[in-house]
C-alpha cells in the first residue's frame, strides 16, 4: 500500500520509524515546523531547528530511500511573544529557496489569543509575498471550533491568498465543512486519543467525499502512531473501499495538493 505521510515530526522519531514507514509503503514524508515541547528562547534556536529540518533530516530519511520535505514557521504555541516571532519570521526567507521547503507551516492558533492572531497574520503575509503554500494547525479540543473560524477569516481577509493553496489541518466532524466550503484542503490527523480515530476519519470521507482531504499521523514526541495512515488504509479496505479508492486518498491526494509547489517531486520511488 503506497502512501504519503504529509505531516510527521520526524525530528522526534527514531530511525526505526523511518524503516517501518518505508516498509509499509511510505513514498515521501513532509515535516512542518512545530513546538518541541519547550519554548525556544531565541531566534538562534529556531535557526538551528530550520537547519535540522532542511539539511540533517532529509539526509537521515534518504538513508531509507525516503524523500523528505519541510514547512517553516514559528508555531502558534510559541507565538505569544510577538517580538521573538518577528525575529524568527525575519530569518525564514533565507531558508525558503532550500530544495526541500514546501511552504509556510504549521502556522495557526493555539489558545486563540490576540498575539497569536498577529503572528498568524504575519505568516500569511510572508506566504503571500513569497508565493508559498500554507499549512495551518487548528487548535486542540475545546479551542478548535473558535480557532478554525478565526483562522478562516484571517486567510479570507488577505486577497492575495488562493484558497486551494491552503491546507487546514486537524479537522474533525465540527470543522471539516467550514474548511471545505471556503475552498481549502482539509487534513485529518489520526491520533490515539484526541483528533480523529481511523474509523471517524473514514466516516468523514464517506460523508464529505475525498476530493480535498488528506490524512496524516502527525507523529511527534507525544502519543502518536507513525503507521496511522497505512492502518487507516486497511480500515478503508475492511469497509469495502477498493484499492484504487484508498490510493486516491492516501497517495494521490497529497500529491495533488503538494505538487502546487514545484519542488515537490518523488525522485526516488519507495524501496
Amino acid at each position: 500500500m503506497r502512501y504519503i505521510e504529509p505531516h510527521g515530526h520526524m525530528v522526534s522519531r527514531t530511525t526505526d520509524d523511518y524503516q517501518d514507514m518505508v516498509t509499509a509503503g511510505c513514498a515521501a514524508v513532509c515535516e512542518p515546523a512545530f513546538w518541541a515541547g519547550f519554548d525556544r528562547s531565541t531566534m538562534h534556536g529556531f535557526h538551528d531547528y530550520f537547519c535540522q529540518l532542511t539539511d540533517f533530516e532529509p539526509k537521515r530519511a534518504a538513508r531509507y530511500g525516503l524523500p523528505h520535505f519541510s514547512w517553516l514557521c514559528i508555531n502558534p504555541k510559541e507565538s505569544e511573544d510577538v517580538k521573538l516571532a518577528e525575529e524568527v519570521i525575519g530569518i525564514i526567507p533565507s531558508f525558503l529557496p532550500r530544495p526541500n521547503v514546501l511552504g509556510i507551516g504549521e502556522i495557526g492558533l493555539n489558545k486563540n489569543s490576540r498575539n497569536e492572531m498577529k503572528v498568524l497574520e504575519m505568516h500569511v503575509d510572508l506566504a503571500a509575498r513569497h508565493q508559498q503554500l500554507i499549512l495551518v494547525h487548528t487548535p486542540h479540543l475545546e479551542d478548535k471550533l473558535k480557532g478554525t473560524r478565526l483562522i478562516l477569516d484571517v486567510i479570507r481577509s488577505d486577497s492575495r491568498i488562493q484558497p486551494g493553496r491552503v491546507l487546514i489541518d486537524h479537522v474533525e466532524e465540527h470543522t471539516v465543512r467550514l474548511v471545505l466550503d471556503r475552498g481549502h484542503w482539509g487534513g485529518m490527523t489520526l491520533y490515539p486519543v484526541s483528533k480523529c480515530s481511523p474509523a471517524r476519519a473514514v466516516d468523514i470521507l464517506d460523508i464529505c467525499g475525498g476530493d480535498r482531504l488528506w490524512m496524516n499521523s502527525a507523529c511527534d514526541w507525544g502519543e502518536s502512531v507513525p503507521l496511522a495512515i497505512p492502518r487507516t488504509g486497511l480500515e478503508m479496505r475492511r469497509r469495502g473501499w477498493t484499492a484504487e479508492a484508498v490510493d486516491r486518498v492516501i497517495y494521490q491526494n497529497p500529491i495533488r495538493f503538494l505538487s502546487q509547489c514545484p519542488k515537490f517531486n518523488l525522485a526516488s520511488e519507495p524501496v
Binding site: 513546538w35 504555541k77 505569544e80 493555539n110 489558545k111 486563540n112 489569543s113 490576540r114 498575539n115 497569536e116 492572531m117 487548535p139 486542540h140 479540543l141 475545546e142 479551542d143 478548535k144 471550533l145 473558535k146 473560524r149 478565526l150 474533525e172 466532524e173 465540527h174 474509523a199 471517524r200 466516516d203 475492511r238 469497509r239 469495502g240
Partner: protein
C-alpha cells in the same frame, strides 16, 4: 455498507467504549471532593448520543467547544482540557 456490516465490524468496539464510559462515571462517583466543569460538560454531551438525529459526533464536539468568537486577550498556558469551562472561567487544571 449495510447496517449488518457496520454492526459486524464495530459493535464490539462500541460496546467496549460504552462500558468504559460507564465505569469512568462510576469511578468519578466513588471519588471524593468536588468535580470541575468537565464532568457536567460530559454529562451534557451524552444527550447528543440519546437523540435520533444524524451527526451525533458533530453535536458532541459542539457541546464541548468554546462557542465565543472574540480572540482572548492573552494565552494563559498552552494546553486544552477537552471541555469549555463557560464564560465564568476555568477551575480545571490548565496543562
Amino acid at each position: 455498507m449495510t447496517r449488518q456490516q457496520v454492526l459486524d465490524l464495530y459493535f464490539m468496539d462500541a460496546r467496549c467504549k460504552l462500558i468504559d464510559l460507564a465505569a469512568f462515571l462510576d469511578r468519578v462517583d466513588r471519588g471524593t471532593g468536588e468535580a470541575d466543569f468537565r464532568l457536567a460538560a460530559l454529562q451534557n454531551s451524552l444527550k447528543a448520543l440519546a437523540g435520533s438525529e444524524a451527526s451525533r459526533a458533530e453535536k458532541v464536539l459542539l457541546t464541548l467547544s468554546d462557542p465565543t468568537v472574540e480572540p482572548v486577550a492573552k494565552a494563559l498556558g498552552k494546553g486544552a482540557v477537552g471541555a469549555w469551562p463557560g464564560a465564568s472561567g476555568s477551575k480545571a487544571p490548565m496543562p
